[in-house]
């Protein structure tokens, strides 16, 4: 299986390295969104502190920042450094977040919405950083003010030359006050709003980073702030053009373009990149499977599927048929990712039901209905020969399990392992498999966000529908693997089969169910 593209392969190795260093619970690549939020919190708290001492007038701003940096280095200086470095770290995590979604092909199909709303979010963060550097009113702040004005002048919306405001004798407090307002209030409020839009279509969105990761990141930021405190350039001087500037490339990368390009061309490039990024989900587009269908005959309105759906596509509503239940569910086709997780949530998906008839459940996937899942399981098991027979259950988005098929290993590929009702495992054991081996996306990283999380919880008896006590845990193994993990998986599978051999009834004299 060498068909994994190099970008994804590279990403998966990086992820494996972080799993090795941090473990899946703290793997930063699984928490890039929450880490970004965490950095925003640091920026917010340190920003409030800086604001207390900041003089928002043109004449006093620079001196007030200098006071914070040098006279109050033990607190103000550290706060300023945290403010700067946490903002920079946020750009790093946002870029990694983008790269991850891209590398794992999680930006097309039903994910177009998250991707498209992510792009302006990035721009909002960058402009927030720009106004921040403006407010220091040092040589760098002046440089940003002049070049931003040139950019604004190129737009047909402002008449007159904004740039000429920054020549000696013309300077007024006007823009400075505006920047102060934008940076301290306008932009942060807007950012919260666009972030809300960004995650609006998802359910169970985590916004706090795991504690270990938060503590580690904070200590690392603090260490950097102490080792190399953030400082200003010389104060803004309208008579001078500083020969050398220490640009913060995370935020200010656009300005040097103006050395070689006109403001109009710079806009074209920026707008071009924005459009390209926003169109990426359709270059080429990816088809999302057919949405889940509700079968009211088998639905009692328990609502479990609505709670489990990671994409907020199911709503609970009053019954529309004359059944004796109070509620039913309905799927919003536009939101449905066709992940099948809801099928695993429904108690009616139990394959022991209706053994002589077609299996119907409360909510089902048209492209792979639960009845077919049961049929294929039966067929796969019927082909098994020899000892220590195993049914390997995998999913479409992780390591392809077809390659592990042998005489005594049968395979079943589901859309997502979260689609599997726990009773299916019992069913396979009952139908003759010596063991069931479940794989799928790496722990902490389900393609459909929560499929493997819910599955683990169901197996642990913490989430409905649970894997019953009487299912023999020694004959069930869960081992998650990405496309680059085939060797590890083979080793684990062999180990599982050895374990089955060691505990087989012939050896122990016991009687297996």
């Amino acid at each position: 299986m060498n068909s994994v593209n190099p970008i994804k392969r590279g990403y998966l190795y990086l992820e494996a390295w972080f799993n090795y260093s941090f473990g899946p619970e703290w793997n930063p690549l699984y928490h890039l969104g929450t880490l970004t939020f965490f950095f925003f919190w640091i920026v917010l708290v340190s920003g409030i502190y800086l604001f207390i001492f900041f003089d928002t007038s043109l004449g006093g701003a620079y001196a007030s920042v200098e006071y914070l940096t040098h006279e109050q280095w033990y607190l103000g200086g550290v706060m300023r450094s945290l403010h700067r470095y946490a903002s920079d770290a946020a750009i790093m995590t946002i870029l990694l977040h983008m790269f991850r979604e891209f590398a794992l092909d999680r930006y097309r199909g039903f994910r177009w919405y998250s991707w498209v709303t992510g792009v302006p979010t990035l721009w909002f963060v960058i402009t927030l950083g720009i106004t921040g550097y403006w407010l220091v009113w040092d040589e760098l702040g002046l440089y940003i003010a002049v070049l931003s004005s040139l950019l604004m002048d190129a737009l047909p919306i402002v008449s007159g030359s904004m740039a000429s405001n920054f020549l000696e004798g013309q300077l007024t407090d006007r823009f400075f006050t505006l920047m102060g307002f934008l940076h301290l209030l306008g932009q942060p409020v807007l950012l919260v709003f666009v972030l809300w839009i960004h995650v609006k279509r998802l359910s169970h969105v985590e916004i706090s980073a795991p504690r270990g990761l938060a503590i580690g990141s904070f200590l690392a930021l603090l260490a950097l702030s102490l080792a190399s405190p953030a400082v200003s350039h010389a104060p803004a001087d309208l008579r001078k053009v500083p020969a050398e500037l220490n640009l913060d490339w995370f935020y200010l990368n656009i300005y040097p373009l103006l050395d070689t390009l006109t403001a109009g061309q710079t806009w074209m490039i920026t707008i071009g990149i924005t459009f390209f990024l926003m169109l990426m989900p359709w270059l080429p587009r990816k088809k999302t499977g057919e949405a889940a269908k509700v079968h009211l005959d088998e639905c009692n309105g328990c609502g479990q599927c609505a709670v489990d759906c990671p994409f907020d596509a199911i709503r609970v509503q009053a019954r529309t048929d004359n059944a004796r239940w109070e509620f039913e569910v309905a799927v919003d086709d536009g939101l449905c990712a066709a992940c099948g997780i809801c099928v695993g949530s429904c108690h009616s998906s139990n394959p022991f039901r209706r053994s002589n008839k077609s299996l119907e459940t409360g909510i089902d996937m048209p492209q792979f209905p639960i009845d077919e899942v049961r049929t294929r399981t039966g067929e796969a098991l019927a082909e098994l020969q020899g000892d220590n027979t195993v049914l390997v259950i995998g999913c479409e988005h992780a390591l392809n399990v077809e390659q592990f098929k042998t005489q005594n290993v049968a395979v079943l590929n589901l859309i997502c392992t979260g689609m599997m009702p726990p009773t299916l495992v019992e069913y396979a054991l009952k139908q003759g498999a010596d063991g069931v081996f479940v794989t799928g996306c790496r722990k902490g990283d389900c393609y459909y966000r929560y499929g493997n999380v819910w599955m683990d919880k169901r197996f642990e008896g913490l989430r409905k529908p649970v894997l019953r006590e009487r299912a023999d845990r020694s004959r069930i193994r869960v081992y998650r693997a990405a496309e680059t993990d085939q060797k590890k998986l083979l080793k684990e599978l062999a180990d599982f089969q050895r374990h089955l051999a060691d505990t087989s009834p012939e050896k122990t004299g016991a009687n297996r169910a």
């Binding site: 473990g23 470095y85 770290a89 790093m92 030359s161 020549l167 690392a220 001078k240 500083p242 500037l245």
Partner: protein, 167 residues
């Protein structure tokens, strides 16, 4: 809990991440001007002369207009483009022609431009033409300037006095 091996690995990862954050927060430095360069910024806000004078309409022309529009003088609103050139020691370093904006080309132009120039003493000549009916400059300004490294010299124009202001 955190094993010593993981602790070491994590410190390594955090250090690498923060090293990147630290580095790109100020480096590589951006060189805006060479050690022996200064900058001249030109900022002119000026309305060109009208393209044509007002003229008296003939009785025939007046008769064609609706009665409430019969004003004896007609004035075209279109203005001339503004031509501007700066030369140092006889070499042209910047030249532009700014067309008046507006649907009827009737508004003033804004020219804002910065040029990098070598330091030292030079003879500067600024020429401007704001009237297409006149050949050659309508305003000129000549001055010896001495530019220090990193100096910003500004050239503005005061429409009220008709003078360039060099600072």
């Amino acid at each position: 809990m955190l094993s010593p091996k993981r602790l070491v690995l994590q410190i390594f990862n955090y250090a690498l991440f923060m090293a990147l954050v630290w580095y790109f927060s100020f480096a590589p430095p951006y060189i805006r001007l060479g050690a022996d360069e200064a900058m001249i910024t030109l900022s002119i806000s000026h309305a060109g002369e009208l393209v044509a004078d007002c003229r008296q309409l003939s009785p025939e022309e007046l008769a064609k207009l609706p009665p409430n529009m019969r004003l004896a003088t007609s004035c075209d609103r279109e203005r001339s483009p503004v031509d501007l050139e700066i030369s140092l020691d006889g070499d042209s370093v910047f030249r532009t022609t700014a067309e008046p904006p507006g649907l009827y080309k009737d508004q003033g132009v804004d020219i804002y431009h910065s040029i990098k120039v070598p330091t030292g003493t030079k003879q500067m000549l600024v020429k401007m033409n704001d009237n297409i009916r006149v050949k050659g400059p309508t305003f000129t300004h000549e001055q010896e300037i001495t530019l220090e490294p990193a100096q910003l010299l500004t050239i503005q124009f005061s429409t009220s006095t008709g003078q360039f202001v060099v600072k």
